[in-house]
């Protein structure tokens, strides 16, 4: 594995240099505690201190709303893939978000393949960035606090430099092009990394024990925890929108005003929305809020585990931060475990 060093003095040049490979998107500060991934206009905009953006990077591959195909007077449905030829560089993804994309790769790439997702995935370079957890991060419990793959380059912050891990052939091309900005790593850098890494380990305060969680959920299906949660949850769907692994969508047709053109649209949906499981004729298979909340929790920590061997949760803390009624996913599972 190739690991180099980028002195902080060269960092802005490095960011600017990325423009040669595509449109660079970076974490930007929007307001107090609000960060977004957005196009870089100037390297000074990069919010290196950010911990989580409101919307995760899934928005680049699985668009909040997009046309799938169009139909006009002719007989054909014309495929439409937004941004299909756009080269994108996503800078600053923390390990949890890289794992989020790896989970979406499984969802959209298993069985029937989602062409829209992968058309954009193949044109995107991922540049990771290390982080220091806050009290909402529980990625360490999900095994997503570090990653060995899923990036082209990964930057680990030291005091005066970054360690740059090369994760792909394209990442290697970039480091070769920018070799003047990079140096070899030394024993001293390794020691510094270990010191920071051990400090980071101590900073994790939030933990979720998932060892036998699917089994406990099986036993606790009728627990009053879900009924109580159903009373507290507004079913607003915020947690789904900000979740790096939530990928449910709605499909509908949009007709132009002159009724000559149709667009098949898909749009992010949430299993918490009231009409999510309504079938033709009006029957709702999950009419109660408690049923819908439980369904979401069971999908993340039971269904997905049964299907793919790991939870569809990265411990990023977004659902904790953005829930309007302060529902805390770890506290919910602790209650289910009887540890609260």
């Amino acid at each position: 594995m190739k690991i180099l060093k980028l002195p902080k003095a060269n960092f802005n040049k490095f960011l600017l240099g990325l423009n040669n490979y595509g449109e660079v998107h970076i974490p930007k500060k929007k307001s107090e505690e609000t960060y977004v991934f957005a196009p870089m206009e100037d390297p000074s905009e990069v919010a290196l201190e950010y911990l989580r953006t409101v919307i995760p990077p899934k928005k680049y591959f699985f668009k909040p709303k997009e046309a799938l195909f169009k139909h006009s007077d002719g007989k054909n449905f014309i495929e439409h893939i937004e941004d299909v030829n756009k080269k994108l560089i996503l800078f600053g993804l923390h390990p949890c978000d890289i794992h989020g994309l790896k989970i979406l790769d499984i969802v959209f790439g298993t069985g029937y393949i989602d062409k829209y997702y992968f058309a954009r995935r193949k044109n995107t370079l991922i540049i990771g960035l290390s982080c220091m957890p806050d009290e909402k991060c529980f990625c360490r419990s999900m095994g997503t606090d570090a990653t060995e793959d899923g990036f082209d380059l990964f930057l680990s912050e030291l005091k005066n430099s970054y360690l740059v891990t090369v994760g792909s052939s394209q990442g290697d091309d970039i480091t070769n092009d920018m070799k003047d900005l990079l140096t070899e790593i030394t024993r001293k850098d390794t020691n510094e990394y270990l010191k920071i890494r051990n400090e980071r380990k101590k900073r994790f305060t939030l933990q979720l024990d998932i060892s036998d969680l699917p089994y406990i959920l099986e036993l606790q299906r009728e627990s009053e925890v879900w009924e109580d949660l159903g009373k507290k949850c507004l079913c607003c769907g915020s947690c789904s929108m900000v979740c790096p692994t939530c990928s449910c969508f709605n499909i509908y047709d949009k007709l132009s005003l002159d009724t000559k053109q149709t667009e098949r649209v898909r749009q992010w949906d949430s299993c918490l929305f009231k009409d999510y499981a309504v079938v033709a004729g009006g029957h709702n298979f999950r009419a109660n809020r408690a049923d819908r909340v439980r369904n979401r929790y069971y999908h993340k920590q039971h269904g997905f585990v049964t299907q793919f061997g790991k939870p569809s949760c990265t411990g990023c803390g977004r659902c904790i931060q953005y829930c309007p009624t302060q529902i805390h996913v770890v506290e919910v599972f602790n209650k289910v475990r009887g540890e609260d």
Partner: protein, 298 residues
Amino acid sequence: MTPQHTLLDYSSKARVENVMIPHIARLVRVIPMVQDNYLFLFRFEDPHLNETFIYKPGQFVELTVIGTGEAPISISSTPTRKGVLEMCVRRMGRVTNALYNLPENSFVGLRGPYGNGYPVDDMKGHDVLIIAGGLGMAPLRSLLNYILDNRNQFGRLILMYGTKTPDDVLFRDELESLTRRGDLECLLAVEQAYQYPGAHPWRGKIGLVTDLFQYVKNINVPNTIAAICGPPIFYKFVLEKLLKMNFSKDHILMSLERRMECGVGKCGHCAIGYKYTCIDGPIFTYWDVINMPELIEF
């Protein structure tokens, strides 16, 4: 560390056929059967597709009414008779309403086939007991005709079909003519044989579908696979009867209905517990079904 081939992997996945795009088909005929349950016949515009569109009984398609939207519809025809796809559609929601308003010869979109379908290869060599209630005949008619077209590969074949009145019997002419076949025990029942003057007289039985069991003797239960489809109350009584007869739970096949929007296991709407109706179903064994959380009460 393992070598990375993600770019190649992503590129190959970006090149696949786009499963979300329907094929253009023509609505060639509409045959009224019972009220708000018509049979719609479709042909693909691409003649090659009519030959190569391979499906199994029990599978469904996503039907696009252009300008309105898409809905999952089970296929009522059998793959053994190529050329035309037949779908028995209940006038129920937005899309099916729009379909009922389409003139014959209109274009529609079809994509699929989706779902697992009946495990016809595993059913070969077995006796088959088909039990339908009301509109449950729609997907089972595909299975029935498939077996009739491959008759020597299956053992004894029994069909029991029950509806409220003779006016509710789907495929009535077809099924009544099948009662004359010697290689099929075709039993039809209605709860009330109310007939208005001039109506086609009812020659079947009167009673519930479960009452039909008294007319079939010596079912070889260990070698029989039951395929059942109907409304919730139907399942309650039919399952009770089958379990009493000692049917093994994985020898009972059920067809489930959910909101299958994408059909390809991605959109999430048809999930029941940990299964997706669109890819793991819609055909489930009774064993699968009782192990599914949040199932409808029978």
